[in-house]
Amino acid sequence: MSVAAIYPWVGILLCTLGLFGFVVHRHLLRRLLAFNILGSGSFLVLVGLAQDGREADPVPQALVLTGIVVAVASTALALVLFRRWYRVSGQASLPEDV
């Protein structure tokens, strides 16, 4: 097993941890963080698999770069919505979750 092969495994670990955090936590900020960890894990799997054994594959790298930008945008969007929700309701979690 080459050194590069460790990246997809770490990515799977991050995915699992992120999923667990997303399911367990009710606070919206924690859920957002967990969701980002889940996303980072999937990026790591993609990039790690792309350089496994052969020379690095540019296509998954470019896809992950696009994915990172979309993740940044969606995180910012979620933060804006979350701040607004907190401002309106004074709660840090959604009512149907409690």
């Binding site: 997809p8 495994w9 799977i12 670990l13 995915c15 699992t16 941890l17 999923l19 667990f20 399911v23 367990v24 799997v45 698999l49 052969r54 020379e55 690095a56 594959d57 540019p58 296509v59 790298q61 470019a62 896809l63 770069l65 696009t66 990172i68 930008v69 979309v70 940044v72 945008a73 969606s74 910012a76 969007l77 933060l79 804006v80 919505l81 701040r83 607004r84 401002r87």
Partner: protein, 232 residues
């Protein structure tokens, strides 16, 4: 406790399923790296990742810019009606102001270099835009007023510039009888550079706007504390 245990079990199962998918994965049928290397000379740039982003899969990048734009639009729609004074964001830190006068030219230089380097090595519009946005955030934290933001038409023009140039360039390919977003081979390099410059401006502005449109609310505990300290 029971809920947590059930969640842990579920996530463990999901992780195992992922691990199984990783162990038992099929061999790739298409040799993408070789295809990419073979098609690189006709793409107009020398770096494969940039070629994927702005030539072969430019539709993804176009939609990515639109996603960023939608996020900024929602932030614009949801912002509070409040006077946006730079001193509320300022950290009252003379050191930051002083360092910024050294850092700002360097950051602009790095952003320009990253933009230019994207054609033949890692770099490109998003990285350059992120550095630009970081410079803007630091300026804002240092309490510097960015007067361009006071003019809505200027801000909006900058925000849509990237997407607009991208769409225009892609549509002009249609007039030449090519598919949408397929650059003519002779002008591909120049077109990609043009699109990247416009994208850098828009991405930097979008990221900075997202930071800027969510200032601390007047009744946030952190701001109250800062104001109380200012009074003392």
């Amino acid at each position: 406790m029971r809920r947590k245990l059930a969640a842990a079990l579920l996530c463990l199962l999901a992780g195992l399923a992922l691990a199984w998918a990783l162990v038992d994965r099929p061999e790739p049928v298409v040799d993408l790296p070789r295809q990419a290397a073979a098609a690189l000379p006709s793409s107009g740039v020398d770096h494969a990742v940039t070629a994927v982003l702005l030539d072969w899969r430019s539709f993804d990048t176009l939609l990515e810019v639109m996603v960023l734009l939608v996020a900024v639009l929602v932030a614009l729609a949801l912002r509070e009606a409040q006077p946006d004074s730079p001193d509320r964001m300022g950290l009252e830190n003379p050191l930051l102001r002083g360092v910024m006068s050294w850092l700002l030219p360097l950051m602009l230089l790095v952003a320009g270099y990253l933009l230019w380097a994207g054609a033949h090595r890692p770099g490109g519009a998003f990285q350059a835009g992120a550095v630009l946005a970081a410079a803007g955030v630091l300026l804002r934290l240092a309490g510097v007023s960015l007067s361009g933001f006071e003019r809505p038409w200027l801000l909006r023009t900058g925000l849509v510039l990237g997407g607009a140039v991208f769409l225009t360039a892609g549509t002009f390919a249609l007039f030449a009888g090519r598919p949408f977003l397929a650059w003519p081979e002779s002008a591909a390099g120049a077109l990609i550079l043009l699109v990247e410059i416009a994208l850098t401006v828009s991405i930097g502005l979008a990221l900075l706007s997202l930071f800027r449109l969510t200032p601390p609310y007047p009744d946030d505990p952190g701001v109250r504390k800062a104001e109380a300290e200012g009074d003392r």
